[in-house]
Amino acid sequence: MTRTFLGMPATAPRGVGHLREGEPFPAAARRALGDPQLRRNLGHATTTIRAKSGRVIGELPDWQQLRDAGSALKADTMARLPELLEQLESAVTAAGGTVHWAADATEANRIVTGLVRATGEQRVTKVKSMATQEIGLNEALAAAGIEPVETDLAELIVQLGADRPSHILVPAIHRNRAEIREIFLRAMPGVDPALSDEPAALAGAARAYLRETFLRTKVAVSGANFAVAETGTLAVVESEGNGRMCLTLPETLITVMGIEKVVPSWRDLEVFLQLLPRASTGERMNPYTSMWTGVTPGDGPQQVHLVLLDNGRSAVLADEVGRQALHCIRCSACLNVCPVYERTGGHAYGSVYPGPIGAVLSPQLTGVADNASLPYASSLCGACFDACPVKIDIPSILVHLRGRAPHPRAEAAAMAAAAYVMDRPRLYAAAQRAARLGRLTGRRGRGLPPPLSGWAASRDVPEPPPATFREWWARR
């Protein structure tokens, strides 16, 4: 029940959850780039989803207006977040649910683990949720002797493979069907040893295993895509029906939700439920949209809990430029259009939030020093901004965060020197001449110091011209 903040809002704590890079992005990316299977899978998947999404977005004449509406609703929500959260709390409580406030990952894990323990159960089914991955809930449950079972097919593949998700929506985007078959044969309880790698057979095996699990498990843990402050309604959107099973069959349902997921009114869902499926999976309508408001006596879970998670979000909210990152509805469109993500995949970003949104969200949740290479993991090409259904200006946030990231001393000195010279046209012209006449390097850039040597590894250094433009101009 930690609700009082003293001073600056805290960032997400270290040592729990999955928000921090294990190594700098360039090093992790280098390894990923060397994996031809990964490159092929990602290239294929992102190209397909881009085309599909582009087609259905093209069908809506009012797509841009919808984006404006989504963006405005989110901005309004963030401007009065505390008030909306309290409204949500009252509405959920009035409907028979219980609301818990978690300042960070540690507290959220403790709350959820305690709630499951109180039921006496030793297994929970899980609906795919970014928030529970962010806080490392599965590890916390396992440490408490509780077995979490992921029920989204791709998430199950990741879990059985003792792997990490690499995409917000398609967590096993880096796996192909041969690899999936091997994982199932190795780790899925009761699997048929004659399992083939046909997609239908793989889905059949997962279905048989999950059905059994759904029917025997009395507690489920979910995230939430939206929470309506006005009514206390929580919403989960998914495509496989596994979510519907988790949300309706168990006796106890525990939902962990980032505080930014609240929307003011029921009516607002109209906008987001149009934006989300078209931007994310390229569907016109989301296949399974489940909504529940507290407890319905005699129908569905009779114990309903909502854990409201901060874990650095208040710190993000305090940043005028960066707070837009909280508008994200996790559609993953920005990943699918990102030329960097398409080549490196999600693991290179370290955090559970990969791609462009990860590059702006993770460093803010943890404090930029703990994810210092992520704001630079972008060529600032702007494709993410154009694709985002709620118009988050990701390139501007990246640049803003670069300004706050710790700078290497040599780089800072070089930048200051360059600015000094460029503010003095005479010095600048002299430097131009010196560079040309001195010719410090050949076309292959031999002798260039790092990081400039990185350029010459794959690209020739331009031949200096016989005269600079200003020399030509002065002579004409």
Binding site: S379, A383, F385, G403, H407, G454, W455, D460
Partner: protein, 249 residues
């Protein structure tokens, strides 16, 4: 019309042909071009690498240099983008609201070359002759920051002798991204590899763009591979005529 040229530090230093071609082209169309010598760099590299404070004097210099002119042209989509979309913010963030206002005014009078030609001067056929098979890379900042749309392609379509072949996946970034190219050299190279593959698939002998920086990147890769495809700034193509020199030096 009297037009002030912002050559950009990169074209001034390493790719003067782009700036020279811009001068020749505009003069041929009957306009007066001036080159205010106090200009240096727009400061984009500083801003985009996280050194906005170092860029403040460069913004001030740029505003002072170009403030007196009614129309400013630059042969670079990304430098035009920096002037139009960053300068005022950099000044405001540094607490200099007066500078921000003046920067916004200069921004409103600054055009990328294809915008100047099509929107301000109202010309699409500039009377150029360029007998080559050309593919055009639209560059991210021209496309998504300035939103120049198909203006460059409309200009190229009017060029006599030019065989314009569409570039597959044209809208994908070439991987330059300023200091991204050195900070994330491997990812940048992977992006470049795909861009070059698409360029080569067109069978073009020239890859054109409206930004010397992207051309330096793509060209640096193509020459390293001895790929036999040249990179040329769109200004050089538009400046070329049947009688004149094809490539101004």
């Amino acid at each position: 019309m009297r037009i002030a040229l912002f050559a950009t530090c990169l074209a001034d230093t390493l790719f003067p042909r782009a700036a020279i071609a811009t001068v020749r082209l505009l003069e041929r169309l009957g306009h007066e071009v001036v080159f205010p010598a106090e200009q240096t760099c727009c400061g984009q590299m500083h801003v985009n690498t996280g050194y906005a404070r170092d860029a403040v004097p460069l913004v001030r210099r740029h505003v002072r240099t170009f403030g007196p002119y009614d129309v400013v042209v630059t042969p670079s989509g990304s430098c035009a983008g920096s002037v139009r979309h960053q300068h005022a913010d950099v000044a405001a963030a540094a607490g200099d609201d007066r500078l921000a206002a003046r920067a916004a005014a200069v921004a409103g009078r600054t055009y990328e070359l294809s915008e100047l030609l099509v929107d301000v001067l109202g010309v699409e056929d500039v009377g150029a002759y360029y007998p080559h098979r050309v593919t055009y890379h639209p560059t991210c900042h021209s496309l998504r920051v300035l939103r120049v749309g198909d203006r460059p392609v409309r200009l190229l379509r009017q060029v006599r002798g030019l065989d314009l072949v569409p570039l597959p996946a044209a809208e994908q970034c070439c991987g330059f991204g300023g200091t991204f190219a050195v900070k994330n050299a491997d990812v940048s190279t992977a992006m470049l590899a795909d861009k070059m593959r698409h360029v080569l698939s067109t069978g073009a002998d020239v890859c054109a763009a409206a930004d010397a920086s992207c051309l330096m990147h793509i060209g640096g890769g193509l020459t390293r591979l001895r790929a036999g495809v040249r990179t040329v700034h769109i200004a050089e193509i538009l400046a070329a005529t049947e009688t004149g020199r094809e490539a101004p030096a």
